[in-house]
């Protein structure tokens, strides 16, 4: 009974043997380039890349960017790439941390059992990204210095939040993801943690990306039409695409200032490059340009790899009892504090 959900150790052993997917990087580091060149050679497709009837490289299908790779390089990872052995150790340890955090005293934010909740990242295919960070430029894998304008904006935003009260005092202060509003849909499209599934569809003049997390859809026209007027602002921005050789280039502007990706302003421009590098993988590169926030543009890179479909609907608002539970808890705490204060006052 239900033993089919107990994953035998053999499956894990099998997973460890799954071939490594490596995608050629653009890092400036010579050593990294060398490693990547070798890897690219190893992963070079034996047959021509798939194309649509229009002759475009075929990006269609189901994909994931699921990985434990952080945006910024951890301080002690003094290199661009892990070996496969090191990556497996990191993944194993991170999966264990997701399990351990169910026990009080282990982490600041004790949590439920991610494994039992199906939230453990390793339960969807991992991309086997050997990079130690998503950021490839600056070459140190860190975000570039923030401008004085960017620092002031961050301080102002923090002050505004504090003025509204504590994070869980009222619904507007609860993080966007918890309110089912926005979670890593991008661009740039970073792994959302769970539900990391994407479907790409394309026609001659449009590319559509269906994002499972929070059920987002990106519609990217390829017909050279201009961007929407400046006043049009949205969570996913306004995207325009074109082909440069076999690479789909997508430029996105017109973000809402509520997005504030890593402290960015609403004038952030994200340029993404999608290149089908093998039957199994798309190389995904992006450049974030926001001179009012960072002193220089910065770049990231990671693979998307194939998964079995479908992409499921994620009707996040349908049963989001968490918001009501949280607010009710705060009101109870407030009442308790008020009662205690009143009791003290009458003594």
């Amino acid at each position: 009974m239900n033993h089919r959900f107990l994953i035998p150790l053999g499956v894990i052993a099998l997973a460890i043997l799954v071939a490594v997917v490596l995608v050629a990087p653009t890092s400036a580091a010579a050593q990294a380039q060398k490693a990547a060149a070798t890897a690219t050679k190893a992963a070079a497709p034996a047959k021509p890349l798939p194309r649509t009837p229009d002759g475009q490289p075929d990006l269609q299908g189901y994909w994931t960017n699921n990985s434990y790779t952080p945006l910024e390089r951890p301080n002690d990872a003094k290199k661009d790439f892990y070996t496969l052995e090191e990556l497996r150790e990191v993944e194993k340890r991170r999966a264990a941390q997701e399990d351990e955090q169910t026990v009080p005293g282990t982490t600041a934010d004790v949590h439920y059992d991610f494994t039992q909740f199906g939230l453990d990242r390793s339960q969807t295919r991992l991309t086997d990204n050997l990079r130690t960070s998503v950021i490839v430029d600056p070459p140190n894998g860190k975000l570039p210095p923030v401008t004085s304008e960017g620092q002031k904006r961050a301080a102002d935003r923090a002050a505004e939040r504090r003025k509204q009260g504590a994070q869980y005092d009222q619904v507007q202060n609860i993080p966007l993801g918890s309110r089912c509003v926005y979670q890593n849909a991008g661009p740039p499209m970073l792994p959302p943690g769970y539900n990391p599934a994407y479907q790409i569809l394309q026609s001659k003049d449009t590319v559509i990306i269906l994002i499972e997390m929070l059920h987002e859809v990106r519609v990217i026209p390829l017909d050279s039409r201009p961007h929407a007027p400046q006043g049009y602002r949205s969570w996913l921005g306004d995207s325009r695409g074109h082909w440069e050789g076999d690479t789909l280039v997508v430029e996105t502007t017109n973000f809402s200032d509520k997005v504030g990706f890593r402290g960015a302003s609403e004038n952030m421009k994200v340029t993404e490059r999608f290149t089908r590098v093998s039957d199994d993988a798309i190389r995904y590169e992006f450049t974030v340009n926001d001179p009012s926030t960072w002193e220089i543009p910065w770049k990231g890179e990671m693979p998307f790899v194939k998964i079995n479909g479908p992409v499921f609907e994620h009707a996040c608002h349908e049963g989001n009892y968490g918001v009501a539970n949280t607010l009710k808890a705060v009101r109870i705490e407030e009442k308790k504090a008020a009662d205690e204060a009143a009791k003290k006052g009458t003594k």
Partner: protein, 144 residues
């Protein structure tokens, strides 16, 4: 070589914060100082996003029945592992260890879901389940 690797990995892990990518802020909603163990029968399983909710009838020592609502996994991720609403049928006996909601009623979040025969539900040791959505396509299995 092995020592260098171990040191590198340890250093990386010590410095990398444990990111929380669950749907909501756990500590704002649930109380880690109130970890009830609930033994009862399943009366309803809401397979709704962002989290499923188990409704269980818990019988007290005096025979009175109390209904508890226990938060469980995200339906999409559970379905991806091959779990359906029929996996745990209404009437199934369950023991759930969890943390009670701070909002004071009989709500909790589940840590462990255990069947009468001791089987832990949904327990995966990591790794996607071959053949399910979210796993790598098996060679030759793709539709043209």
């Amino acid at each position: 070589m092995r020592i260098t690797l171990a040191v590198t990995i340890t250093a990386i892990l010590l410095l990398a914060a444990v990111p929380v990518w669950a749907h909501h802020a756990f500590s704002a909603e649930f109380d880690v100082n109130k970890p009830p163990t609930l033994k009862g029968t399943l009366s309803k399983w809401e397979m709704i996003n962002p989290h499923s909710w188990f409704h269980i009838d818990v019988k007290g020592p005096d025979g009175t029945v109390t209904e508890w609502m226990v938060e469980g996994g995200s339906p999409n991720t559970l379905i991806r592992l091959g779990v359906t609403k029929n996996t745990v049928k209404v009437g199934t006996e369950l023991t759930i260890e969890g943390y009670q909601a701070k909002e004071g009623t009989n709500k909790a979040v589940g840590r462990n879901f255990v069947l009468a025969d001791g089987t832990r539900l949904f327990l995966s040791l990591g790794g996607s389940v071959p053949g399910t959505p979210g796993a790598a396509p098996e060679k030759g299995s793709e539709k043209k």
